[in-house]
């Protein structure tokens, strides 16, 4: 039924005749008869635009939209400024291919150059790439950057998001090297255990800040030890938290990675998201993926190009450090746009509101008899509570249109962003009280 062909069957027949063919089937004469399909595939009949829109709206309606989401664990419900939603839908940005032809792609290239600059500023690092698929693959790619023949073991803290650990494990399985998990203690990396696990074979140690449980790692305590062992430090960080917290650069990390979704991308059942990666000049040429560089054209005009391409798969083939080709360019532009829309003060304020509201909810929940916080350390916008009847609490909240904390080992993992008002949080506490009363 539906199609997007700017030609009529009669026109196509004439084109076939111009080629000396009588039917479209003749175009497939190189296909062996035994596998050339004779009938139509078992697909539904095509739909008109109106009908397909109805069908898709129906599917969307089968999801539940909560009025308030108090769950994070790797996907964060931040407010997306209107302009940040609108600009990436401009059709030139939206539909262009990778900017191989720099002369007619300056808009894409400059937006990425600006994104790279802002990621460097945020992380305190010197060089950023143009993005990878998500925060988990960013960590996996970073682990790949660090290992070599002499140092093949990657360490990761148990307090890193399980999705990230699993993706790292998969990438390292591909490469045939080992991933070892450093145990946690009171919701944070066990620094003593880490020190014992470091060896001359350790390539890198990856930790998350704030970690999966929302806790701030005492990073200064173990970074020096990792470096002393000759290994590299990978810091997986929340970009909103970077509005307030000490940056990877300030802490002396070698590679900063993270999930860029909080910077203007919707939850969208998991994607598209954005993996950001930044490092020091020393490791610039080991960064995977595209990197935009500034240069000049013949007339001396400022110009941007895809640079340092000789690192990449299309030139280095099997010797490339990564196979990445398509990335998340539009999401990178969105993140740059979000950071520009918030500005330095706005970003700090978002971070501060997340922090403050999460602490308000944590404190109020902890006042409810039977409820306590699982961990004692400083936290950002996520925290774990221990409470009885957790499933009933979640069900009651669900009934009120509130998505409560995520059940994890040891309790419920809550997340509060700037979107939650005090009234939302008070309502949440009231419902918890009612269930536990």
């Amino acid at each position: 039924m539906g199609h997007f062909l700017p030609s009529s069957p009669e026109e196509r027949q004439k084109m076939l005749e111009a080629l000396g063919l009588s039917s479209a089937r003749e175009l497939y004469r190189d296909v062996p008869d035994s596998v050339l399909l004779n009938g139509l595939l078992n697909l539904p009949e095509g739909l008109s635009e109106l009908a397909v829109a109805e069908k898709m709206r129906g599917l969307a309606a089968e999801n539940k939209q909560y009025k308030r989401i108090l769950r994070g664990a790797g996907a964060y419900d931040h407010y997306i400024p209107s302009i940040v939603r609108y600009i990436p839908s401009k059709e030139e940005f939206l539909t262009a291919y990778t900017p191989y032809q720099a002369e007619i792609s300056q808009g894409v290239l400059q937006s990425i150059f600006e994104y790279q600059t802002m990621i460097c500023e945020l992380t305190g690092m010197e060089v950023s790439n143009a993005s990878v698929y998500d925060g988990a693959t960013a960590a996996a790619e970073a682990a790949g950057m660090c290992k070599n023949r002499k140092r093949s073991v990657t360490l990761v803290s148990e307090t890193v998001n399980p999705e990230v650990i699993n993706v790292m494990r998969t990438y390292l399985y591909g490469a045939g090297t080992e991933l070892k998990v450093v145990p946690a203690k009171d919701g944070r990396t066990d620094a003593e255990a880490l020190k014992e696990m470091l060896s001359a074979e350790t390539a890198s140690f990856c930790f998350q800040q704030p970690n999966f449980f929302g806790q701030f790692e005492d990073a200064e305590k173990f970074i020096a030890a990792v470096k002393e062992a000759g290994a590299m430090v990978i810091m997986h960080c929340n970009p909103i938290a970077l509005g307030l917290m000490k940056s990877p650069g300030e802490l002396g990390a070698d590679i900063a990675v993270g999930e860029g979704q909080p910077l203007g991308m919707p939850l969208a059942y998991g994607g598209p998201y954005l993996g950001f990666m930044a490092t020091t000049k020393k490791y610039m040429r080991s960064l995977p993926g595209r990197i935009v560089g500034q240069t000049a054209d013949a007339d001396g005009n400022r110009a941007f190009v895809l640079s340092l391409q000789a690192r990449e798969q299309h030139i280095r083939r099997e010797k490339a450090s990564s196979n990445i080709c398509s990335n998340e360019a539009l999401c990178a532009m969105t993140a740059g746009l979000y950071l520009a829309a918030m500005g330095p003060a706005g970003l700090k304020e978002v971070a501060s509101q997340c922090l403050s509201k999460a602490h308000y909810l944590a404190a109020e929940l902890a006042k409810v008899p039977g409820v306590s916080l699982a961990y004692s350390g400083e936290f950002f916008h996520e925290f774990v509570t221990v409470m009885p009847k957790a499933q009933e609490v979640l069900a009651a909240l669900d009934g009120a249109g509130i998505l409560g904390g995520l059940p994890v080992e040891g309790g419920l993992l809550w997340c509060v962003t700037e979107k939650a008002s005090k009234a939302d949080l008070d309502e949440t506490v009231r419902i918890v009280k009612e269930v536990l009363a």
């Binding site: 997007f4 700017p6 030609s7 196509r12 080629l19 497939y28 190189d30 062996p32 595939l41 095509g46 829109a53 089968e62 999801n63 769950r71 790797g74 400024p81 302009i83 600009i87 030139e92 940005f93 939206l94 539909t95 291919y97 002369e103 300056q106 808009g107 894409v108 400059q110 937006s111 150059f113 460097c120 060089v127 950023s128 998500d134 990230v164 490469a175 200064e220 000490k246 300030e250 059942y269 998991g270 994607g271 598209p272 560089g293 500034q294 798969q313 490339a320 990564s322 998340e328 360019a329 999401c331 520009a340 829309a341 918030m342 500005g343 706005g346 970003l347 509101q353 602490h359 400083e378």
Partner: protein, 464 residues
């Protein structure tokens, strides 16, 4: 034009957030960053103008002919965008309870069943976020399969020399030794080279068919049979699937697993380089090795990306497939092939096709003779096309053709456009004979002239 940082003025800002309505929490000083990030300060109008100006310096699919070979730059339907922007999809947390995500899971299930039918596969994952990521996932299926059988001798992946760079890079990422085999004179797999490369150490073959010179390999059944006979598996790189949908299926050709670029074949936009989606399908015996999300599904499986992949890209692709349906899908492919052959016929008198025979959805021109005659290279011609409002074809790929220009018109171009394009190529070719210097320095009408890439690589400036 100005960088966003050069437009920044202290105190300019948008008003996004309400005042904080709870007590403000302070972090201990030891956790606080020492210096604030240098982010630009702009008002909303300034921000809007900046990005609008940037957007004007981008060539999109609707700006004109975009024959970027191997990239399938077809029209991206507006309704697909509208569906991907529905709050019922964008507002869904991936870790919301299953009862709250019925719709999302139905989208994935339905898209999987349709793509399984199109590719001839039995199972599907949407975790991979791009084509190369799909390749990685597919070769990991092969690796897990051999490992589970204790078949550790299989250390090599065979890749034709005409392949995309992602193929050998993928095999290397999976720990395999890459065996490059030469193509025959007809641009297809040379069966003798393949036989010589096969053995008890063969883990698998990575192949795209139609191949990168735009030809359907007529020996495909023999190729996959030989690989299987040697105990290897066959991976189908779906970069060129747009040629064959509804006409022949990778699964029927003997492939065991496949990736499909939803951002090529299924009309989702490229976003200036991404996001895409590289759905991977496989035969039932490989299904146990498909990746799964540790938190969304269950732990203990391989996993290549968090959660369910680039979900909104799947929403777009599903909208597209449901629109075309059982008749529209094969019609799209046959029209893509028709358009490519029609355009090749129009260009044959101007430049030399690398393989002058019936092609599939794309074809390659070899400008070696033209360069000898005029001194004008494929690069010069490509840049010259920009001045005529055309996006250049893919240049210098595949590597087995010198001075290559690779054209893929797709099905969403009209006969008039193809005729006009042939005329423009004729003009540019003549220009190269009359005034080669003009093409050496082209483009002349773009926002910038040719950038100095040597300077960019020698002294990298990678941030403002």
């Amino acid at each position: 034009m100005k960088l966003i940082f050069e437009r920044s003025k202290p105190g300019h800002a948008l008003t996004i957030l309400p005042p904080l309505d709870v007590e403000r929490t302070a972090l201990p000083a030891a956790l606080l960053r020492e210096s604030a990030p240098m982010l630009p300060e702009l008002s909303e109008t300034e921000l809007s103008r900046h990005y609008t100006e940037l957007n004007k310096q981008v060539y999109g699919v609707n700006d004109g002919f975009y024959p970027l070979g191997s990239c399938t730059m077809k029209y991206n339907p507006r309704v697909d965008e509208e569906m991907a922007a529905l709050p019922g999809f964008t507002g869904i947390h991936p870790l919301a309870p299953k009862t709250a995500t019925e719709g999302c899971r139905k989208v994935l299930e339905l898209a999987a069943s349709l793509l399984e039918e199109i590719s001839g596969m039995d199972a599907m994952t949407f975790e991979p976020a791009a084509g190369a990521h799909g390749e990685f996932t597919g070769v990991l299926l092969i690796k897990q399969y051999h490992d589970a059988r204790g078949d550790s001798a299989r250390r090599k992946i065979i890749v034709p020399d005409s392949a995309h760079g992602t193929n050998p890079a993928t095999a290397a990422m999976c720990g395999y030794e890459v065996i490059n085999i030469a193509s025959g004179e007809d641009g297809c797999v040379d069966l003798e080279s393949l036989k010589a490369a096969l053995g008890p150490d063969t883990a698998g073959l990575m192949l795209t068919n139609p191949n990168t010179v735009g030809l359907f390999d007529p020996n495909i059944l023999e190729i996959t049979r030989l690989v299987h006979e040697a105990g290897g598996l066959c991976y189908y790189d779906g970069a060129n699937l747009n040629a064959i949908m509804g006409h022949v299926r990778p699964g029927d050709m003997g492939f065991d697993c496949v990736h499909m670029n939803l951002h090529k074949t299924f009309a989702t936009p490229h976003g200036g380089g991404g996001p895409g989606a590289g759905a991977v399908g496989c035969k039932v015996f490989l299904a146990p090795y498909l990746p799964k999300s540790a938190m969304l599904d269950e732990p203990g499986h391989c996993q290549v990306r968090s959660f369910a992949g680039n979900f909104l890209v799947v929403v777009r692709a599903l909208t597209y497939i449901l629109t075309l349906g059982r008749e529209g899908i094969p019609q799209a492919s046959e029209t893509a092939v028709l358009n490519a052959n029609y355009l090749m016929k129009g260009l044959r008198e101007i430049f030399t096709p690398a393989f002058d025979r019936l092609c599939m959805h794309e074809f390659v021109l070899d400008l070696s003779d033209y360069k000898k005659e005029t001194g004008v290279s494929a690069l010069d011609v490509a840049k010259g096309l920009i001045d005529f409002g055309i996006h250049p074809p893919t240049m210098y790929f595949p590597l087995i053709v010198h001075e290559a220009l690779m054209l893929e018109p797709t099905e969403t171009e009209s006969r008039e456009t193809l005729d006009e394009v042939a005329e423009i190529f004729r003009k540019v070719a003549e220009l190269g004979r009359e005034d080669p210097e003009y093409l050496h320095t082209a483009p002349h009408k773009a926002p910038i002239g040719r950038p100095d890439e040597v300077a960019a690589a020698r002294s990298p400036i990678l941030r403002a």
